[in-house]
């Protein structure tokens, strides 16, 4: 009897794996489709992935540069500071928003054909990840450009370690995306609520301001530090802007937070996915 249930478990596990292998081309097609369709009818096409963060950063620098930029002691270059936070935040908010809608938008397929449904939130996060990686070119351009001015940012080997916060952020996005995509199937309101939440998150993450230079209430500061994006953005800035090793506590906290999100998301998704078809 015991042997039989164990065999059954192995069968189930290998079904998950064989499904993933069988449908991995679907994953890459979803990623390709999302990227291609996003910019299809625009004149500049894929250049918008570069242009959009560039322009929004210019706007933010104009609006906040005078106010926060001068006040921010210990920041060698406010534009780079802004860009680091902005790019990471954009990837998080866009990928999770798109993952959230992915199940509803693929209802036509899910209702008709058997597909591993997690491919849709996962594919949306990956496609946003690809455009995010492309948009990093802007950051590289600014780093090089400022290299010739007196606002030059010290480039050290630590810049290579910036892959660590990026990887953690990716895990976080997958986890949050899975949770949200499941929730949005059952409660459409979640989509609107999440838009508001993202706005709050923008201000709860030190993108335009520096936490230390603000005279903040102790509890507000604690709230901001509990935000995993605070740790991830902080790590990224340490590597890119300050050219030093990142804080290990930041890594431990954000990684643990992200892994827990993935576990919760995977369990929720697995438990509820058979019911999706009844609600979409």
């Amino acid at each position: 009897m015991g042997e039989k249930t164990e065999n059954l478990k192995i069968v189930k596990k290998s079904k998950f794996l064989s499904d993933f292998v069988k449908y991995r081309y679907l994953l890459s097609e979803i990623v390709r489709r999302n990227i291609k369709v996003q910019y299809r009818d625009s004149v500049l096409g894929i250049f918008w992935t570069l242009l959009q963060p560039l322009l929004t950063t210019v706007v933010l620098a104009l609006v906040f540069g005078g106010f926060f930029g001068k006040k921010a002691d210990g920041i060698s270059n406010y534009v780079i500071y802004l860009l680091c936070g902005r790019l990471l935040y954009d990837f998080f908010s866009q990928s999770t928003k798109r993952a959230m809608k992915s199940i509803r938008l693929s209802a036509g397929v899910i209702k008709k054909v058997y597909v591993p449904k997690y491919m849709y939130p996962l594919g949306n996060v990956i496609s946003c990840f690809v455009t995010f990686l492309i948009s990093l070119i802007i950051l590289a351009g600014f780093l090089i450009g400022y290299g010739f001015t007196d606002k030059a940012v010290p480039i050290t080997p630590y810049i290579l370690l910036s892959v660590v916060p990026i990887a953690v952020l990716f895990i976080l996005c997958v986890g949050v995306g899975m949770i949200l995509s499941t929730a949005a199937v059952f409660f459409k309101d979640a989509e609107y609520l999440y838009d508001v939440f993202c706005m709050l998150l923008f201000y709860a993450t030190p993108i335009v301001y520096v936490v230390d230079s603000m005279n903040m209430n102790k509890y507000v500061q604690m709230g901001i530090m509990a935000n995993p994006l605070y740790s991830i953005v902080g790590m990224f800035r340490d590597c890119v802007l300050n050219g030093r090793m990142f804080n290990m506590n930041h890594l431990l906290y954000s990684l643990a937070f992200s892994v827990v999100c993935v576990i919760i998301g995977a369990l929720m998704f697995k438990k509820k996915q058979d019911k999706f078809i009844l609600h979409i």
Partner: protein, 250 residues
């Protein structure tokens, strides 16, 4: 599963919750939870349905509207999980339910061929090998590089049909899709389906039309209110169904 059985449906029951009022936002949900107005009515779309289809057999499923035919097809296709019982399918299954469901309207015909193929679980190489056949069969010509949103519904259906039948499935699920496109394409698609029959594909065919079932199938069942009320040779079952229809009209 024994070697010669392609589809095995065992004691399958599917239950839906019929909400008296649809609750799809959090506020309403909590209000109803607190006021205990959250009632569900159970509705059994399928009840204890069992049948097997042997390899190469063609089973027709007859039944009136709301008898559970579509629910049955969805459970066999693996889209819907049965509340009770089990469904086993041996081999590659191609559902020909509502063609073109997996299309992206901003994508061109060519891109959609690959997207649709991927949705059905095929690799890029596999689709590339069949790409020319698919395009030729759909008779789209230069339109293959035009976004699908500019297609007529007939063109969409033709492309969907071509992709779905370009692969060599072992089990084919047909949901009255044989009426695709104009008369010319209709004849062509029936011929294509017939050639798949000749290759020994197993078929599950849903219809109201007993003439079609008699022509295409060698076995049939009648579903009524989620239960199998008759099963056996196609002609016998069709006679029973025709009698039922006449009885209903009286």
């Amino acid at each position: 599963m024994e070697n010669n059985i392609a589809v095995k449906v065992e004691n399958v029951s599917v239950m839906f919750n019929l909400n008296k009022e649809k609750v799809d936002n959090i506020k309403e949900y909590f209000i109803k939870l607190v006021t205990r107005k959250l009632r569900f009515t159970e509705f059994w779309a399928l009840q204890d349905v069992s049948f097997t289809i042997e390899k190469g057999e063609r089973l027709g499923v007859l039944g009136f509207n709301g008898a559970g035919k579509s629910t049955l097809l969805k459970t066999v296709a693996g889209v819907l999980k049965p509340t009770k019982g089990s469904v086993e399918v041996e081999g590659v299954i191609a559902p020909l339910l509502e063609l073109g469901a997996g299309f992206d309207s901003n994508y061109t015909g060519k891109e959609n061929v690959f997207l649709y193929g991927a949705t059905m679980g095929y690799s890029r190489k596999y689709i590339e090998e069949r790409y020319d056949d698919i395009v030729a069969f759909a008779e789209l010509g230069d339109f293959i590089d035009v976004p699908i949103k500019n297609y007529s519904s007939g063109m969409r259906a033709r492309l969907g049909f071509s992709i779905a039948t370009a692969v060599d499935p072992e089990v084919l699920i047909l949901d009255e899709v044989l009426s695709v496109g104009d008369a010319k394409f209709k004849a062509k698609s029936e011929k294509k389906v017939q050639s798949m029959f000749d290759k020994g594909v197993t078929v599950l065919f849903v219809s109201h039309n007993t003439a079609q079932v008699r022509r295409l199938c060698n076995k049939a069942i009648i579903l009524d209110h989620g239960k199998v009320v008759a099963s056996g040779e196609a002609n016998e079952v069709c006679d029973k169904y025709d009698a039922l229809v006449k009885g209903g009209k009286k």
